[in-house]
């Protein structure tokens, strides 16, 4: 995925476009977190807890059975027709905004679902914005670093981060979902 911004900003050499991409990602993602907190205010606490337990359980069972984390397929949102090599800043900004929407692109991490439910449950707009801004920042970081990398194409850039490749992230995701599931169960037992 690091290749996206590489292509977008004319060979990945525009550092200004990379910063715009990362900034848009972070800001829009933070706004999504804020929106989720506000949207969750009308939902009863019990419903949120049940949804969190159910989604975490589903992810954990899937992980045990198949060794992977299910992801939600989504139609491509990053259209190739958006590429405008004449205006790398505007293009990077546009891609950053869509990436920052988080749920508008395929969700590979179950943690994102659990996180959305968790911040709705916590009902704290500040923390909702902060934690989703972290998601956007981390999500866009690998792509935004492309201009500083010596590799010239996407696959090579992606291979520079071998530790965080899919199996590792899947295991971390499953661990996180298990912790949330255990926390929800404890929370329910204690009431």
């Amino acid at each position: 995925m690091a290749g996206t911004i590489t292509v977008t900003v004319g060979g990945g050499r525009s550092r200004r476009a990379a910063v715009l991409f990362l900034g848009a990602n972070t800001l829009v993602s933070g706004a999504i977190g804020l929106g989720l907190v506000l949207a969750g205010r009308g939902v009863p606490r019990e419903v949120l807890l049940f949804a969190m337990a159910a989604s975490c359980l589903a992810y954990v069972v899937w992980f045990l059975a198949r060794g992977s984390i299910p992801w939600l397929p989504w139609p491509p949102q990053l259209s190739a027709t958006w590429l405008d090599r004449e205006r790398p800043d505007a293009t990077a900004l546009r891609y950053g905004v869509v990436w920052g929407l988080a749920f508008a692109t395929p969700i590979r991490a179950g943690s994102l679902v659990a996180l959305a439910l968790l911040i709705a449950l916590a009902n704290d707009p500040f923390w909702g914005s902060v934690v989703f801004a972290v998601v956007g920042f981390v999500r866009g970081l690998s792509g935004a670093l492309a201009p500083w990398d010596t590799a010239s194409d996407g696959p090579k850039l992606a291979s520079r981060w071998p530790f965080f490749h899919r199996p590792t992230v899947t295991a971390l995701d499953a661990i996180a979902m298990t912790v949330v599931l255990a926390s929800v169960l404890q929370s329910e037992v204690s009431f």
Binding site: P106, V138, F164, A176
Partner: protein, 55 residues
């Protein structure tokens, strides 16, 4: 076949181990307690990494 069984055993051990250890480590309040910050930030980091490698 034995490798497949070993991998599955590791997965089960991982989940059971995390479930058991969470019972001792995490306070039973996910909605605003001090552990919320740690859990939420950990989820945010993992969600960011996971989403970064979406197709």
């Amino acid at each position: 076949m034995s490798t497949h069984l070993a991998v599955r055993t590791v997965r089960i051990a991982l989940v059971v181990g995390v479930l058991a250890s969470t019972a001792f480590v995490v306070r039973p309040d996910v909605d605003g307690g001090s552990d919320f910050v740690v859990i939420a930030l950990a989820l945010a980091l993992i969600a960011g990494l996971g989403s970064a490698w979406s197709p």
